[in-house]
Every structure is written in structure tokens, then in C-alpha cells.
């Protein structure tokens, strides 16, 4: 964890690298879909790059995340190799889930990406269980539950917050408030108009941050991670941001007021952070381009890998329904 101590140049450059990876990956997915090379349900994370990038620099491989259908930014930031994502998107045998899960169910336990769920709210109860495992096992693992603003109104949110609070579990509830839930505006459907304020009702720490400000997110995440590792319980972070696209690929997003969208895009966090890096002299243009080229190369290879990979065999249809590999126990020792 070289980046957790100080918010210095190296940290900000690494955050930017992850952001650029997310943005560029998204651009290339769009391009591949438009060209018909990929055929998939896809939920763009554009506009939300800062959140997982500034959070994930505090995490280890052993730390867990749960994310949602709109989760490719979380996955990439957590270190899930792009090639496995692309191959999964392409439905190939080499995908992170052998092509069986698809875009909404990307999993990579090796890097701590434990669940990607398509059911609103469901990342949270499972994250509670992952957090519980840290407490039961007495280890230092932290779990992050990513979810959207719309998910803050479903029952699973409430049950998870309360249980995590009561047991002081090492869980960070990261609400990525992009102001929309499908076609629904946050304000219209959320009593009280704040997600993080609800934390008080559970006796939990809740904070609101500008989700497009790397330092603000980094600070909030640092505190939350420290709290979790110290056994002081969960944190609810509401990171405000904006969705740059319709809900999913193919949705023109007409219901998003044009002026709001224009304003948000004019403040594209990827551009902003890049400019900040240069303005403040954290890195020079040449080094930045080298870094960006490496990302471009990675994604190019990911796409090539995906599209040249084989389809799953038909017998995959019925494997992995149950564990058929392990031999069941026939007896256990007991002491009288």
C-alpha cells in the first residue's frame, strides 16, 4: 500500500492512472459495441471515475469489494485485469466467469472482487457478511459495499446498515450518488434528500463528499478504512457525482436536463485531474502520456485477447451449478 500514507504526487498520479484506465476502458467498450464487436448490456461508469480510484489506493488485494452492474470502475480500480473483463463481456471461456456471469456478475476473488450484483441493494448485505468474516477470523480485511443513490431506499440498505453498526463491522458503505436511478431523479424519490444523513439513525458515521474531488474522497476513504481496521465499525460515505450517460448502453438519457449534463461534462473529472496534475507539477506531460499509452496498450490487448478467445463449451451449461468436485465428508471426529 504505497499510496495510503500521504496525499502526495505519487498518490494523485496513481489515482489519475486508475481514472484514465476507467475512462479509456469505457471509451473502448463503447467503440467496440458500436462497431458490433461486443454485444452486451453495459452500464457506463463515466463521470464516477474518482470514487473507486481514490478509494482503492487505500485497499490491499485481500480487502473485499462488492459492486453492482455499474461496477467496471470499481473492478478496474481494485486491480481486476481488463482482459478478464473484456473476455467476459465477449462471452468467452477466458472471461473472469468463463462467460457465464456476464457484465453484471464479474467476479475475481483473487483480487477481492467478491460479488457484482444486478439486484439493487444486494451488494450491502453480502458486504456485511464479508465484514463479519474479518471479525470472526480476527483479520484486518476491510470490505467496501458499492451502491447507487437509488439503492438507498430499498430494505436491504437499512438491514445492512443496522447490522453492520450493531456489530461494528469493518465495512465501508460507498454510495455513489450520481443523481439518477435509471430515469429517476434522486431528490424526487429520497425522503430527506441525503443518504449519508441516514447513518445517524444507525449510530454510524456518515459523511458526504464531493465524489469528483480526489482529495476529498481519498480523505474520507482513509478515515473509513482506518476506522474499519481499528475495529471501530462501519462508515457510510455519500460521494456526489454525476452520470455522464443514459442508464445503460442504448438509453439516450433524455430525461436528464441538458444544461445539467452539459455542466457536468464540462467538469469532467478525468480532464480536471489531468490538468491539476500538470498545473501543480505532480508529473509532466511526457510522463503522463507514457502512463496513458500503457493503459491504451493494456486495453488494446484486452480486446484482442477477448475477441480471439474461444467460446465456452456447451457442457459449461451444467457445470458450476453445484460443487461436484470435492468429496463430501462421511464423518467428523467428535469428543464425547
Amino acid at each position: 500500500m504505497p499510496f495510503t500514507n500521504r496525499f502526495d504526487s505519487a498518490t494523485l498520479v496513481e489515482i489519475y492512472r486508475r481514472m484514465f484506465l476507467i475512462k479509456h476502458n469505457d471509451d473502448m467498450v463503447h467503440a467496440a459495441a458500436k462497431a458490433g464487436r461486443l454485444n452486451l448490456i453495459y452500464y457506463s461508469p463515466r463521470g464516477q471515475e474518482v470514487i473507486p480510484s481514490a478509494l482503492s489506493v487505500h485497499l490491499n488485494d485481500e480487502d473485499y469489494i462488492c459492486t453492482i452492474y455499474r461496477g467496471v470502475h470499481d473492478q478496474l480500480a481494485k486491480g481486476l485485469p481488463a482482459r478478464l473483463i473484456w473476455a467476459e463481456y465477449a462471452g468467452r471461456a477466458t472471461g473472469s466467469c468463463k462467460g457465464k456471469g456476464g457484465p453484471m456478475h464479474i467476479t475475481y476473488p483473487e483480487g477481492g472482487v467478491m460479488v457484482t450484483t444486478g439486484v439493487v441493494g444486494s451488494s450491502m448485505p453480502i458486504a456485511v457478511g464479508l465484514g463479519l468474516s474479518s471479525q470472526v477470523n480476527g483479520n484486518q480485511r476491510v470490505t467496501v459495499a458499492n451502491f447507487g443513490d437509488g439503492a438507498s431506499n430499498i430494505g436491504a440498505f437499512h438491514e445492512s446498515m443496522n447490522l453492520a453498526a450493531v456489530w461494528k463491522l469493518p465495512v465501508i458503505f460507498m454510495c455513489q450518488n450520481n443523481r439518477f436511478a435509471e430515469h429517476s431523479r434522486f431528490e424526487k424519490f429520497t425522503g430527506g434528500g441525503s443518504v449519508s444523513k441516514r447513518a445517524e439513525g444507525y449510530g454510524m458515521v456518515g459523511v458526504t463528499v464531493d465524489g469528483n474531488d480526489p482529495e476529498a474522497v481519498w480523505n474520507a476513504a482513509r478515515d473509513a478504512v482506518a476506522r474499519a481496521r481499528a475495529g471501530e465499525g462501519p462508515t457510510l460515505i455519500e460521494a456526489n457525482t454525476f452520470r455522464f450517460q443514459g442508464h445503460l448502453l442504448g438509453d439516450p438519457g433524455d430525461y436528464i436536463p441538458a444544461d445539467e449534463m452539459a455542466a457536468a461534462r464540462a467538469n469532467d473529472p478525468v480532464d480536471k485531474v489531468r490538468q491539476k496534475l500538470l498545473d501543480e507539477g505532480h508529473i509532466d506531460e511526457a510522463a503522463l502520456q507514457t502512463l496513458e499509452d500503457a493503459v491504451r496498450q493494456e486495453i488494446r490487448e484486452a480486446e484482442e485477447f477477448a475477441l480471439s478467445s474461444p467460446w465456452p463449451e456447451l457442457d459449461e451449461l451444467s457445470t458450476d451449478v453445484f460443487d461436484t468436485v470435492s468429496e463430501p465428508l462421511s464423518s467428523i471426529p467428535v469428543s464425547a
Partner: protein
């Protein structure tokens, strides 16, 4: 308008029901026009026509959506609620099963829940494991619930009216790939009677029993079989629960052979009930065993090659039918 799509038929049924009866209201995520009139556009213009008071987009809260529907129904309204995808009914099962379905019985008939729950599902759109399941067998297993689906736009219209004006809770199932399917327009205002199956193609060699969007595959199989000299009758269940046992028994007793096809997985599916019933009632009178064809016993896989192999195909239906003809 002599032809109409499924999406249009559903929209029209909702429109006509709301115009006729001011107690019909609509609740669901994104169903009103400020939220686009439904993620598939199926409920478009209804909030504009009938007002925000009667057509309401809701927060993402399926328990509250169905709970609100149950409460409003107890108070005499006829709520049409939408659970965006069938897999999300899992969130609201307490409200549906322990409450909507049981309040009439548990109150000794003092109250009732004239609630419609529209939901969509189905493989084929690449939505994979958590967005594509057919779970109708669960609801059919619950006394007090009705379960309805359709295979033509005209039936979508009249069965949805039948569901809305039924005095008991009805789960109304739509298929995600099917909204653009077109067919002859319905007779406006015609309300289907629930619980009636329909022979949609006659035949003397075997009875194919099915329901919902997969009927297209069944009809394709029938045509192919005809070319091989096998004359298959096709029955559309239309109401899955309580289903029209008599029509099935009468017809299968004539053909002597039955195959039940649905997109839900075979095991413990609706086909099991029908096969058990037919086998029992027609014991000794069948020329071949009753067969069931459903999807593969797994979650719905993403990869196109697997997703296609997951659902019943016309080819698999033909093969099964041919194996019964010996």
C-alpha cells in the same frame, strides 16, 4: 389499427382500464412520464393522460410497491403495480405471498386484494443470471394467487384487462424480448375470462401445451413437424394458475400424447403439475408418456452460445415429439 405490438396492447389495456374505472391506479419504478413512461416505454403517456395522482413512479422499493398496492386494494382501489423484472419479485415475496394472496382467506372473506402485478422476464437479451428467470411455478403453488400470461398481442390486451378487473391478486407476466411482437389487434374493451386455455392450432397426433413468448418456438416446431407428417395440436394455457385442467384433459385424451413446454427450468416447474395431472387422469389411455421441456437446470448463462442452448429450441421439441410417435 388492425395490427398492434405487445407493448402497444399492454399500454392500450392500461389506458382503457384507467379510462373506464377511476379506481385503477398504477405504481412502479419509472412508470410515469417524467421518468420516461417505463424503462421499456410500455406505460408511456398514461401519467400525462390520467395524472400524477393515479400513475406514480416509485422509489426502488419492491416491498413498499407491493405493500402500497395491497393496502390500496384493501381500500377498494385496483392497483396495477409493476415489478420491473421477475427476479425482483424475490424482494417482495412476503407482501405477495403472505399478504396479497392470503388476506381474503385469513379475513374470512371480509377483505380482498384486487391487485395486478405486472412483471417481465426471459432469456435472450443477455441479461443473464439475475434478470431472466421464469418463476411462475412459485406463485402457482400459492393458494390465492392467479398467474396469467399471453402469447399474442390481442391476448395481452384482454388478459391484462381480465387481471385488472379480477378481484384477486394476479401476477401478469411479460417477456422482455417480446414487446415488439406484432399481431392482429384486439377487440377493444373485451375482457378475457381468466382460467380458460385456448386451442390455438388443432392437430390429432400430439398436444403441445405451452404459454407465453416461447409459443413462437412451439409453433415453429409444429410447422416443422407437419412437414414430417406429424399433426400437432397446440394449447395456450393463458392462465397458468388456476389452470384449465378440463380443456387439457379433453384434448390430450383425444391425441393421446402430450408435451408441455415452458421457458422456466423443467425441474419442479409448471410442467410437472400438468404432467402429473394428465398422467394420473389419463392413466392407461395415453399412447406415450407425458413429456416436459423446459430450460436447462442452471442460472441463465450470459454467453450467447450458452444462453441459446439454455432455452428450449424448436429442434428439441421436434425431437421429443418424434420420440413419442413410435
Amino acid at each position: 389499427m388492425d395490427r398492434i405490438t405487445v407493448g402497444q396492447a399492454i399500454n392500450l389495456a392500461l389506458h382503457d382500464a384507467m379510462q373506464f374505472d377511476s379506481s385503477v391506479i398504477m405504481l412502479g419504478e419509472d412508470v410515469a412520464d417524467p421518468e420516461g413512461g417505463g424503462v421499456m416505454g410500455v406505460t408511456r403517456n398514461l401519467s400525462t393522460t390520467f395524472g400524477d395522482n393515479r400513475v406514480r413512479s416509485t422509489p426502488i422499493a419492491e416491498q413498499a410497491i407491493i405493500g402500497a398496492g395491497v393496502g390500496a386494494a384493501l381500500a377498494g382501489l385496483r392497483p396495477v403495480t409493476e415489478i420491473m423484472l421477475m427476479n425482483f419479485t424475490t424482494v417482495a415475496m412476503d407482501m405477495i405471498v403472505n399478504h396479497a394472496a392470503k388476506l381474503r382467506y385469513m379475513s374470512g372473506g371480509q377483505t380482498g386484494v384486487p391487485l395486478t402485478i405486472r412483471t417481465m422476464t426471459g432469456a435472450g437479451a443477455g441479461t443473464a443470471g439475475q434478470h431472466s428467470d421464469y418463476l411462475e411455478a412459485w406463485f402457482a403453488h400459492v393458494a390465492g394467487m392467479k398467474v396469467v400470461t399471453f402469447s399474442t398481442p390481442a391476448d395481452a390486451y384482454s388478459l391484462l384487462l381480465g387481471a385488472i378487473f379480477d378481484n384477486d391478486p394476479v401476477l401478469f407476466i411479460e417477456n422482455i424480448t417480446d414487446y415488439g411482437t406484432s399481431g392482429p389487434a384486439p377487440e377493444r374493451g373485451k375482457v378475457a375470462r381468466l382460467g380458460e386455455a385456448k386451442v390455438i392450432a388443432d392437430g390429432k397426433d400430439v398436444t403441445l401445451i405451452s404459454y407465453g413468448a416461447i409459443m413462437k418456438t412451439v409453433l415453429k416446431a409444429r410447422q416443422a413437424l407437419a412437414k414430417e407428417g406429424i399433426d400437432a395440436q397446440v394449447i395456450d394455457l393463458r392462465t397458468i394458475a388456476p389452470f384449465d385442467a378440463q380443456t387439457l384433459i379433453d384434448n390430450v385424451s383425444k391425441t393421446g400424447r402430450a408435451v408441455i413446454i415452458h421457458e422456466a427450468v423443467t425441474e419442479f416447474g409448471v410442467g410437472a403439475e400438468i404432467a402429473a395431472l394428465l398422467s394420473e387422469r389419463l392413466h392407461g389411455k395415453l399412447k406415450a408418456p407425458v413429456r416436459r421441456i423446459g430450460s436447462n437446470f442452471s442460472a441463465v448463462p450470459f454467453s450467447k452460445v450458452l444462453e441459446q442452448a439454455y432455452v428450449p429450441s424448436a429442434g428439441s421439441i421436434q425431437e421429443v415429439v418424434k420420440s413419442l410417435m413410435g
